[in-house]
Amino acid sequence: MLNISVNNNALLIEEHSNLQQLISVAGFSEQIIAVAVNGEFVPKTQYSNTILSADDQIDIVKPIGGG
């Protein structure tokens, strides 16, 4: 298992998981989101071929009011 962080919370996932799998594991499937891995934006098209490594830091964001 790999230890990663999603929105600053620790999470254990299967080795060799890709970003697409993480998103569903984390419960964000079907949601309006955008994602960055280790501070770098990852386009939707790259979710499935983005393999996660230990200590990866994933940001999953959703729309909110802003000024």
């Binding site: 955008a34 959703k62 729309p63 909110i64 000024g67």
Partner: protein, 271 residues
């Protein structure tokens, strides 16, 4: 005339897109989403800011908020609020472009947690990069003329200098600098972003020749945000009309409006 004052015939152009309204409104801090929607409608704004934040999957808030925003029919202006480096801002801008499907970005790179001012150095780096990636960048900047000239040089087709620090409502703190800025930068629109607290300040910005106003707190934190949105909308139209109508020259000494000639009761012998 009516048209001009209503800005029908007097459009705001940003990156070759035109807008009837010169009022850009934020979507944060409202007591409720419905209040927000009413305020947006009352503001007659066509261009509203919003943002992206980490949320739990359980929080459906993001999605419902998103629904309501879409129903306003307004053009969206995602911001990079809270980002502290060019790198953070650039990546959040990319995430916004994908999620909101828009090249527009209100570029915010905060340089100090105390006054939340823009970081002139990171801001120029981020603006240059995002322009090169095809974004339509509206940078939240200070009233520093040299910074503004650099942002224009890297390709920004509009600038958004602050009036005062975010959320203070202090108004146009440095009218002298804002005036110089407007006199020096005449080829692209200038929008006052942040620091305005009351409608008269927005009117003053337009009277000085600024092209538009962006604000959030002054409306959302009013006792009656919907009426306040209307108030700012009117003030912005008023200031714009005042600018177009050509303000009278300020005079140091008094001058009667009613003619002196023919003043009754005056007689030779009263001299």
């Amino acid at each position: 005339m009516q048209d001009l004052a209503n800005n029908n015939a007097d459009l705001l152009t940003l990156y070759d897109e035109t807008f009837n309204s010169r009022f850009l409104l934020g979507t944060a801090l409202y007591r409720s989403p419905s209040e927000m929607c009413e305020a947006i409608k009352a503001s007659e704004s066509e261009f509203i800011t919003l943002s992206l934040r980490r949320q739990n999957p359980q929080q459906n808030k993001g999605d419902s908020f998103w629904q309501m925003i879409k129903e306003t029919g307004c053009k969206l202006l995602p911001n990079t609020a809270g980002c502290k480096s060019a790198k953070e801002a650039i990546n959040l801008a990319e995430m916004s472009r994908e999620l909101f499907d828009t090249p527009w970005i209100k570029l915010e790179v905060i340089g100090d947690d105390y006054n939340l001012q823009p970081d002139p150095f990171e801001l120029v780096i981020a603006a240059k990069e995002l322009i090169s990636r095809g974004f339509k960048v509206l940078p939240y900047c200070t009233d520093d003329l040299v910074l503004c000239l650099r942002l224009r040089d890297v390709g920004c087709q509009a600038l958004m200098p602050w009036g005062a620090p975010i959320g203070t409502g202090q108004g146009l703190l440095n009218k002298y600098h804002l005036q110089s800025l407007r006199e020096r930068i005449t080829d692209i629109p200038l929008i006052i972003d942040a620091g305005l607290g009351c409608p008269s300040q927005a009117a003053a910005a337009l009277e000085m020749g600024y092209d538009a106003v962006l604000l959030n707190t002054a409306v959302a934190k009013a006792d009656n945000p919907v009426l306040m949105a209307r108030a700012f909308s009117l003030a912005i139209s008023a200031g714009r009309a005042g600018y177009l109508a050509g303000l009278m020259q300020r005079r140091q000494t008094a001058a009667p409006s009613t003619p002196i000639l023919g003043q009754p009761f005056w007689h030779q012998n009263s001299l």
